[in-house]
């Protein structure tokens, strides 16, 4: 096609991408781990077809076998201590999990349940006795476990779970009980068929002094046997959740406990203990804070799901981009030959900003994975460690939300861009769409997670905020934190700070080049801080007026989400800009990543340009110029698109899709 491949930008030379070198950049420090997973994926590629051809029960068994097989390669145990057969490297564990998302996602989720959620809870909430008892067999998959937190009545508000665990000092046992159907454990992966053990979250009822009256101590975790030799134990009822949208290889179930007794040692007692005589002690006095500390240790689940979402998006964008580079439809340029889809301006606009955002999120995910590794590898005590953990949790929450929404959106757009062929299961979108759909609401509902991000920003990750429920948080923020936020983000200060990095004084928005990363970052930072200040003011105004805190919160909730999103998008751009700098020595890669980074930054600003105009940071002319620049960047990236998706290093076996990827 006589297409406008590269608009004439002075000095622009189309880069020549070394795909393997770019893959090395993307793979980062854990390239070997990722390659191990790629090899495992390729050798078990038949599972993608099994997912279609096998009945549900058969496929569940197949997935279980596969999980045990890949466990034997060491792939799934990398995050556990070496003394139990693990790899002792949490970062490696995340890299392995992310890469596994190139394949069948039932396998991925089963791995996540077994090693991340169940094994992770034993490791993080338990102590040596639990580790000794369970970790070795968990790592091999010999013992299957499940993570019984969510209940029918409570998914997001975990503090309000209904399952109870009352201590009986006479027998030194906890009695686990499901008082009603709202308190049944629900959607629990591995529960319907395979789990022999469960980590069960329940409201602990025990005294706090010798001979005292038992009282509620909040949610705690217990190891509870569910099955022996495949048979469900007495007092326990398990029901299959029934057919689901996707993830057919994962056996989700519901669990009821009828006064089930477990020994005192079943309590995962890293953060709280119950003595034989029934006295409760904890190193963390405040119950809210204790609860959030326990939950906080499970943050790797969110980091994992975020990474998995981003990698599932890579599969979709690789399929759609490759197809669009081959498929011809309609004679537009030189009849009678039809044009290649990717030469159409609209098609570039549909796919390439999503590709750029996929790269951006990839690098942001690398940052959060690294941060996770650091925080858990070098546990820092005191306030600094506390703050680092809170920041990690907020970043993990934000990246998970944006990464999984990006997956949903990208998979959908790519399916549509592949037309009817995209609808056939052989071409992968059916499974991608059905299996990833739940990513946006499990491991923390995305909207709830973004509220967590905003909370952290409003309180500057002060540990006090952990003492508060939703209701108290609003009052706290309004009373205590708002002035600080308003002070910190006051617009003239913000502009002054930004002036330092940008030319043009107060006119920076007009003067700075659109392709200057400092300009792009300044725009995203301005948005973030301005939104945060506005949010703080709205909260304060409502509380000062004597309104009910819940009503105030409800009124500003959309602003909460917007502010959190603005913050996370800025973090993502930070990560991408840093990544571009890291390849400074490789000129062609630098140009290619630079184009993607510009496209991500400008399409992000473009998508929210109304806000920037409303807040005086963008005039009509410049706003239109940004849209034109996005068009130009798409045209520049079009000839690079195939290399850019190839660099994800998705094994050919995982792409299947004979109809999409066959000869044009």
């Amino acid at each position: 096609m006589a297409t406008e491949a590269a608009p004439e930008t002075p000095g622009y030379r189309q880069p020549d991408i070394d795909v393997l070198a770019l893959q090395r950049v993307l793979d980062g420090p854990y390239a070997e781990v990722r390659d191990l997973v790629r090899t495992n994926l390729a050798s078990h590629a038949a599972v993608l077809e099994d997912a279609e051809t096998m009945g549900r029960d058969e496929f569940r068994e197949r997935v279980r076998e596969l999980v045990v097989e890949i466990a034997a390669t060491g792939q799934t145990g990398m995050g556990f201590p070496a003394e139990y057969g693990g790899g002792g490297d949490l970062g490696a564990s995340i890299a392995a999990f992310e890469t596994l998302a190139y394949g069948d996602l039932s396998v991925l989720v089963k791995v996540g349940v077994q090693f991340g959620l169940f094994g992770g809870a034993i490791l993080q909430l338990g102590t040596k006795a639990h580790h000794d008892a369970y970790l070795r067999d968990t790592i091999t998959g010999t013992t299957m476990g499940c993570f019984a937190m969510t209940e029918t009545g409570h998914g997001s508000n975990v503090q309000r779970l209904g399952t109870t665990a009352a201590y009986d000092a006479t027998t030194q046992e906890f009695v686990l009980h499901t008082p009603d159907d709202q308190a049944r454990k629900d959607y629990i992966g591995n529960a319907a068929a395979h789990a022999e053990l469960a980590v069960v979250f329940a409201q602990l009822r025990v005294a706090t002094e010798e001979g005292g009256t038992p009282t509620d101590q909040g949610v705690h975790a217990f190891v509870v046997p569910l099955r022996r030799e495949g048979k469900v134990l007495p007092g326990i009822r398990i029901e299959d959740c029934g057919p689901k949208m996707g993830l057919d290889g994962v056996d989700n179930g519901r669990i009821w406990f009828d006064h089930v007794r477990v020994p005192r040692e079943a309590l995962l007692d890293r953060f709280a203990q119950v003595s034989a005589s029934g006295v409760y002690t904890s190193s963390i006095d405040n119950p809210n804070r204790r609860f959030f500390t326990m939950l906080g240790t499970l943050v790797q689940g969110r980091v994992s799901v975020g990474g998995a979402g981003i990698n599932a998006a890579k599969v979709a964008i690789t399929l759609a981009t490759t197809y669009a580079g081959r498929r011809r439809q309609f004679e537009a340029t030189a009849p009678p030959e039809e044009d290649v889809l990717l030469d159409y301006g609209l098609h570039q606009r549909r796919l390439l900003p999503l590709l750029a955002r996929t790269y951006a999120l990839h690098f942001a995910q690398q940052v959060v994975a690294e941060q996770l590794h650091d925080v858990f590898t070098n546990e820092v005590a005191g306030t600094d460690g506390e703050k680092a953990r809170r920041e990690l949790e907020a970043r993990a929450a934000g990246t998970k939300a944006l990464g999984t929404w990006h997956a949903t959106r990208t998979i959908q757009e790519c399916r549509e861009a592949c037309g009817g062929a995209g609808y056939l299961s052989a071409n992968r979108f059916a499974a991608l769409k059905a299996d990833t759909d739940v990513f946006t609401t499990f491991e923390g509902d995305n909207h709830v997670l973004l509220q967590l991000v905003a909370k952290g920003l409003l309180t500057d990750y002060a540990s006090e905020f952990e003492d508060l429920d939703q209701f108290g948080m609003v009052r706290f923020v309004a009373a205590t934190a708002v002035e600080t936020v308003i002070e910190r983000t006051r617009v003239h200060k913000l502009l002054t700070r930004l002036k330092d990095v940008l030319p043009g004084g107060d006119e920076w928005a007009q003067e700075a080049g659109l392709l200057d990363p400092n300009y792009q970052l300044a725009m995203l930072r301005f948005r973030e801080e301005h939104m945060l200040a506005g949010l703080a003011r709205r909260l304060k105004r409502g509380i000062d007026a004597g309104d009910n805190p819940g009503v105030v919160f409800s009124r500003v909730q959309a602003h909460v989400i917007a502010a959190a999103n603005a913050h996370v998008e800025r973090l993502v751009l930070d990560a991408f800009v840093d990544a571009c700098r890291s390849v400074a020595a490789e000129p062609d890669l630098k140009v290619a990543l630079g184009l993607l980074c510009d496209l991500f930054a400008l399409s992000t600003i473009e998508a929210d340009r109304a806000w920037f105009m409303e807040h005086g940071r963008l005039g009509s002319a410049r706003s239109k110029a940004i849209s034109r620049e996005v068009d130009d960047l798409c045209r520049k990236l079009r000839p690079l698109a195939q290399d850019l998706v190839d660099a994800f290093g998705i094994p050919a076996e995982m792409l299947r899709a004979p109809d999409l990827l066959g000869p044009a």
Copy 2:
């Protein structure tokens, strides 16, 4: 919850909705037909479970039986002439089809294939002999047929189909042939298992004068037997398309023809005939025009799919709204009681604008269905009739695109709003999502359809545009139509016209009330005409500069889509405003529909407020005021939400969802 149910607007009184009266408004002139379908749906509700529990082959048979059963009630034959057992009312046929979308969508699509596509092609492209031969058994479902248009290599560009039909005068037969795999018929519903007949679209090769050399006459349709007593006939190869994302009850297949001979009478010859000796004649000289005229008669398929998408969205929004009115999570307002989801501002923002748009699209669909009925019932000859048909086709294309994208988006948002429960098949979203996904790309890819809409606007539905391929269109528009469009839409004229309906002279944007429908319509009309003029200018500029028309087209393609979208959204608002006026005599309904209409109009403007700011029609302050008004409207609609979804009249049996709709 101490929620802000209704912001204090002077004189505002919360309406008391008579749900049945509102349902009558929504049902329109075909309430009886819709009720018949509701009854049929309820009595066959078990099919929703069958879709999960049965294997693919069994479920296909079940769906086939069901289609034949409901055919016997008259529900599916309403659009056919009475003399063959039909209902003789095309409007009734659309109403029935739309309502069927409340149920299992394999049944819907099978009905669409059999009665809409196959039966519709026989009716519209054939003549009396074909009607006599096939219609009666088609209407009862005794004979199953398929519509073999799409090929692997050509979905959107139907004119370039590869299947050939050469006339052999010696035997008075057409020889149908598939030259290569790109030309195999693909994704054909009813082909893999059930169809005995196919309407096959192929390139006709025949002479235009006695003894002349056969030449290509373009795509024509033929009735071709595929099976006899269930066995595929010689020369024909049929393959199953294999597993799909959804619609498991529809047997999609691929068909190859190896020099298959059919008699001369197999040509559906309403618009073109071949004499026994092999001479081609047609009342329409121009081949492009002939082709588009033939295709144009099949427009009811698009009207049907658009309506089905909108009604599938109704199911999703009904489930999510009902759930959100019962589900409690997090104590925000009055601890320890948790708050109802729909009392949260964010949840209102997520669901209620989608509800408003569902209503808007419903009324827009009623308009296009009525127009379809009129055009086909009172066929008007000459230029007027021609223009009416072109306008209908454009409106059908636009409504289909917006209706089906709305379905995808609404179902996704509603699934997420129902959390993990939304992921379970019993709660309907799994099927809704998987089955409707293909709606955006079948019966015309939405992006291609919006280009068709824009073409109509640029050429003012001049019949000449039908003579042109994509390439020629760009040149034609640039050379001929652009001046007219620019003249017609010149901004000062536009503003003058708008001033007549609005107070405040040139300041109307500032003066007019946000809730004045004249203001809302003026905004959408301004956007539409301004975009169209801009598009025309861009096309002209490119062609004047000597650029390749295809390159010019590629460059403006995103503007083409935007202009078409703006046009269709304006039509939708027109339809909604008219619908509000039609209930003027019922004050409570008028208020309720007025709120929804305001919410649709303002959230539509809000979503594109960047454009309005860029083009001087919205200042920052007013833009923010629109967002606040959207918030207010959501709060006002919150207490009405349940009544508003109940008025869709979806049979309780179709909602299933015990987890979502059970007691709170």
